[in-house]
Amino acid sequence: MDIQTTAQIINFLAAMVLLTAFGMLVQRRIYGLIHLFAWQGLFLSVSTAIVGYAAGRHHLYISAVLTLTLKVILLPYILNVLIHKLKIRKEIETVVNVPLTMLIGIALVIFSYSLTAPVREMSTLVTRSILAIALATVMIGLLMMITRRHAVTQIIGFLAMENGLFFAATSATYGMPLVVELGLFFAATSATYGMPLVVELGVAIDILIAAFIFGIFFFHINTTFDSLDVEQMARLKEGE
Amino acid sequence: MKFLPLLMEIMQLLLLLTAAPVFAGWVKMVKCWSQGRTSPSLLQPYRDIAKLFSKDVVLAENASWIFRFTPYIVFGATLLAGGIIPILSVDLPLSATADVIALVALFAIARFFTALAGMDIGTAFGGMGSSREMMIASLAEPAMLMAVFTMSLASKSTSLSQIAYVIANSNIHTVLKPSLAFAFLAFVMIAIAETGRIPVDNPATHLELTMIHEAMILEYSGRHLALIEWAGMMKLFLFMSLGAAAFFPWGIAGAGNMAAIPVALIYLIIKFAFAGVVLVLIETGLAKMRLFRVTEFLGAAFLLATLGMLAHFILE
């Protein structure tokens, strides 16, 4: 297929990524969040694959596959398991002032577009416009982390953010050299705490460490504060 | 060093020693007249001093060597001051050893030790006297300095002989300066305070609320007291002659001419007789002030003296 269609497809996918990001921003129920996240991962991997195909960068297929396995299958699964284990299935989280957050989100999108405009002018790549989307996704992820008060949802926000990065790294630039992508996965996995499964797969050592962190963290937070509400973790402070 | 100035110096010191009691007697005499009393003779002070010298000394148990040596130091300092101020002649070998600043400092030494002696006994009076004396001195001394500074600025020197010489040999225009007028006023007020006369202090009283100088020397007796009294008279005499030398030096003998001495002597007697009268007028005219009015009095003097110097720097 020709460049035009590719570009269109990719842009469509990018739009979907952004959409899912927005969805996550306002989704109250944790399961819903996880599903949205999975969808985002899917769009991500597909677009990566297409970019790989269109630009003939075959190592991007690996990235696509990895994304698929990690972001679409493993992490959602693990999160489900976790939520089950920690018995927080029913928890419905209050999201502060949906319209406002939406507005801020939109503002962020516009901002990142205007910001990346000069870059877009310079780039010759098919996927140049994706950089803006990626940046917007990162920002929205950060925004989500700010607005949410539940440890798990914060993590999901973090993941969304990291998706944005991944998007930028793979699609926008035709993929960075493999060595960094390893790092990316490592970042992704470390960020997602999707460890137990990854350990089963027995991947790299750094993932091991992150697994360690994951396991200990949630359970400790849950046991010491008997919930995963991060609001309680505000003892270390200056102003009284 | 030539012989003549030396002679002059010695003469002057003798004059100081002998004439000081006379002047004190004269003041007392005029005072009695002014108050319509019959006065003791001019020589009464001599008799008092002689009597004191012949008496035994009674020391308080607590008195230390400071108390015993103070009279001598006071006497010495005062006498040395006498060697510096040109009374009859400006040509004094000693006058080079100390200028006006040093002169003030010499009086300060005397006062310093007197105050210490006052505290030595450990009675309430001594301490009170010293405290008040130092309070007054702390205002009078700078005022005094300022006054003489104005003089020295006018005559471009701080050496007394030089000042006297310049003023004496300069025409009326150079002398009639506002700064000098201020200085003179200040000087008069200070002289009163420094010599412990009414309205600042009353040499005749022994009432503890009012006395200042007397309180310090309350414990003295015999020769010690004699020395202090004598030094006091000398101090009065010296202030008068300082005033004379600084503000009315006319008639004072110039360098080297012996012939001018008698004339100078006559001038001197006239000046002092007059000064005594003025002093008495002030003393009888005014009443003794409360202690803390004294500070205002001296503050005024200090101000005047400073004004004098300012006047010199700004107007002249």
């Binding site: 901002f111 925004l143 607005t147 609001e231 505000a234 003892r235 200056e238 102003g239 | 010298f53 008496k55 000394v57 009674v58 020391l59 308080a60 148990e61 607590n62 008195a63 230390s64 400071i66 001598y72 130091i73 006497f75 010495g76 006498l79 040395l80 000693l94 080079a96 100390a98 200028d99 040093a102 030494i109 310093f112 105050a115 210490l116 505290m119 030595d120 450990g122 009675t123 309430a124 301490g127 010293s130 405290s131 130092m134 001195a137 702390s138 009078a140 300095l145 300022m146 020197s157 050496s159 030089q162 503890e208 015999g222 020769r223 202690l291 500070t295 003296a305 400073t306 110097m309 720097f313």
Partner: protein, 681 residues
């Protein structure tokens, strides 16, 4: 010549550092350590004195470079007559105090570890030597802070006492802030000297060589003046001084008050007259004003004290003020190209520097002796010590007479010279100066008189009368090393007082170096006997003759009156007809200064109250009267408390930043990114 002066100086510094290594070996036998180390210190100080005297005598300038510090900026040493003079001053007092310390520090043995004292003592003196030898900004500041740190530990010596901690903290903070200010001023000068192509700009030589634009020079001057003022205890930066000096061991207070403050004077002279050289007249006016204020306020505060060492500390403020007056005048005259009078003023200031070192050292040693014997610093308790400690009394008296500027002792000479500088000043072009000159003279005069009053009080209350305290301690005269140390200082006071001409002749290389003129030949016109600063007919003074004159008259009168031995009887003091006088009836420090407190009361923050307790039937007949008096430094309330409160308020506000919620922190990063991105666009 085998040794050059600089070698001697460096050798003495090395000796001091050697002691630091030596001391730990004698940990077992502390008495031995004290004897050895302080004797060594005395010897080392003498070396420094020799070097100093030698340099000033010949007016030589010697340089050396130590391969220390940064390889690009090694330590530069320089020994010219200015630093030579200060070397002499410091060394001389250090010598006396070291001798004194042999006896004084014995008192600590067994009570607290002496080694710390010995070590920091050596560091302290070595630091002061290095300060006056340093010839580049880095080395100067290192030695400067080194000195400060060492003295800080000495103030901390009795570290279990709260007042020591407080004082030491205050001292170190102010000293450090001052040091940073000095650093900045060097930065200004170095930066303008070379523009930082390389490190050479930091040497004083480079700064001397360069010519500064006036506004930068002004900035540099005020920064350094601020810094040095903080060290010298110039009002309003003096608050640390009356806290730190009293609580330090007395030999240390003697050094701090006697010479450490002088390093600041050295710094001011070095920066203004040697490095910047060309400056507008009003700098001098500023220095002069600060000097005047410090002088008069210092002595007034001193008058209000009843803690002996505190009183002396405030007098250091006063005397620093007097020194500054001399220097300020010198600066004024220099800027108007009047080298001769400038030389006179400088001589006066520098002379007073030496004098103050001597008599203040002597006085603090005396206070130390009193403390050592009575374990008492509060004068209200004391009295009659002249009977128990005759030696100390005489020596302390000499100190009092000297500091009160009474002839024939040294304090008088320098104040006399300062007055001459005032009086000989021709009418200056600037109108402000026309006003400043007479007022300055007036204030100086006032200061002298008040100082006399203050020391009548100090000596009278402490040594005369009878012991006032409730408990009567067993008092005895102090040991010989202490006496000898004080005697030496006292002798120096007298010599400096009666032989000023020789001294001025010796140090005339300093004015020659700095203001390019000297008063020594005119000063010596009549020979060594008479001091005639400018011309014989303008002013003259002869300490010798005053001394001998008074002595002679006293002797003659005494002999004449004792040819016939008149009996001396002892009797009770006259009690005015009341019942027996008690010690408590004597005037004490507070009551002595009451009249003056009444006059100048508005300058202090005074809280005074009388309560009749227990309340009796009629208020006219109280059973017992209690009188409370608290005199405080106004500066404290005006300057320091607000600053402290402001900074704590700010820190509370800053604390708000961090209130624990992780979301907030995320918002911070979020906003930071957004802002930066906007900033980029």
């Amino acid at each position: 010549m085998i040794f050059s002066p600089l070698d001697l100086a460096s050798l003495s510094i090395l000796l001091f550092l050697l002691q630091v290594l030596l001391a730990p070996f004698f940990k077992k036998n502390e008495r031995f350590m004290v004897n050895v180390c302080f004797s060594l210190a005395a010897a080392a100080s003498l070396l420094a004195v020799a070097a100093g005297i030698w340099t000033v005598e010949n007016g030589t300038t010697e340089k050396a470079i130590l391969a220390l510090g940064l390889p690009d900026l090694p330590f530069h040493l320089r020994l010219d007559s200015l630093s030579g003079f200060f070397l002499t001053t410091i060394g001389l007092l250090a010598f006396y105090v070291s001798v004194y310390s042999i006896g004084y520090v014995r008192g600590f043995i067994g009570q607290r570890p002496v080694m710390r004292l010995v070590i920091f003592y050596s560091f302290f003196i070595a630091g002061m030597f290095m300060v006056v030898l340093a010839d580049d900004a880095l080395f100067f500041l290192i030695s400067w802070e080194f000195m400060a740190a060492a003295s800080y530990f000495l103030v901390m010596y009795e570290d279990e006492k709260a007042e020591n901690k407080r004082a030491a903290f205050l001292y170190l903070v102010i000293a450090h802030i001052g040091a940073v200010a000095i650093l900045l001023s060097f930065g200004v000068m170095a930066g303008l000297a070379t523009g930082f192509k390389d490190f050479s700009g930091y040497t004083f030589d480079a700064m001397r060589a360069s010519h500064f634009p006036v506004e930068w020079a002004t900035a540099a001057f005020f920064l350094s003046f601020f810094g040095f003022a903080a060290k010298a205890g110039i009002i309003p930066l003096h608050v640390w001084l009356p806290e730190a000096h009293p609580v330090a061991p007395s030999n240390i207070s003697a050094l701090m008050s006697g010479v450490m403050l002088k390093t600041a004077i050295y710094g001011i002279i070095r920066v203004t007259l040697d490095i910047i050289k060309v400056f507008p007249w009003w700098w001098g006016a500023v220095v002069l004003v600060f000097g005047l204020v410090s002088a008069v306020m210092g002595v007034l505060y001193a008058l209000m004290q009843h803690d002996l060492k505190r009183l002396l500390a405030y007098h250091s403020v006063e005397n620093i003020g007097i020194i500054l007056i001399g220097i300020g005048l010198c600066m004024v005259f220099t800027s108007f190209q009047m080298p001769l009078i400038a030389a006179l003023a400088l001589t006066a200031g520098v002379y007073h520097t030496m004098n103050h070192a001597m008599f203040k050292g002597l006085l603090f040693m005396g206070a130390g002796a009193v403390l050592h014997a009575t374990h008492e610093r509060n004068m209200e308790e004391m009295g009659g010590l002249i009977h128990k400690m005759p030696w100390t009394a005489v020596l302390f008296l000499i100190g009092c007479v000297s500091i009160s500027a009474l002839p024939p002792f040294n304090g008088f000479v320098s104040e006399w010279l300062t007055f001459q500088a005032f009086l000989l000043s021709p009418s200056l072009p600037a109108p402000i100066l026309k006003l400043l000159m007479p007022i300055g003279a007036a204030i100086l005069a006032l200061t002298g008189a008040l100082a006399a009053a203050c020391f009548v009080k100090a000596f009278g209350v402490t040594f005369l009368g009878r012991w006032r305290g409730q408990h009567k301690p067993k008092i005895q005269e102090v040991n010989w090393p202490m006496r000898i140390g004080m005697m030496l200082a006292a002798a120096t006071c007298l010599l400096l007082g009666i032989l000023p001409t020789l001294f001025i002749g010796w140090m005339d290389t300093i004015p020659v170096q700095l203001v390019g003129s000297t008063i020594s030949e005119s000063a010596g016109t009549y020979g060594w006997l008479w001091l005639t600063p400018v011309a014989p007919e303008r002013a003259s003074y002869s300490g010798v003759i005053v001394f001998l004159g008074i002595l002679a008259v006293v002797a003659v009168a005494y002999i004449m009156l004792h040819v016939k031995p008149g009996a001396i009887r002892r009797g009770n003091a006259w009690d005015c007809g009341f019942e027996k006088l008690t010690e408590r009836m004597q005037y004490n420090a507070t009551s002595f200064s009451m009249p003056i407190r009444r006059i100048f009361g508005y300058l202090f923050d005074i809280k005074e109250q009388v309560d009749l307790s227990p309340q009796s039937a009629h208020s006219a007949f109280p059973k017992r009267l209690n009188y409370y008096l608290r005199v405080r430094d106004r500066v404290w309330g005006w300057l320091y408390k607000p600053i402290a409160e402001a900074s704590f308020w700010l820190s509370r506000k800053v604390g708000m930043l961090q209130q624990g919620r992780i979301q907030t922190y995320l918002i911070y990063s979020f906003i930071t990114i957004i802002l930066l991105l906007v900033f980029v666009k």
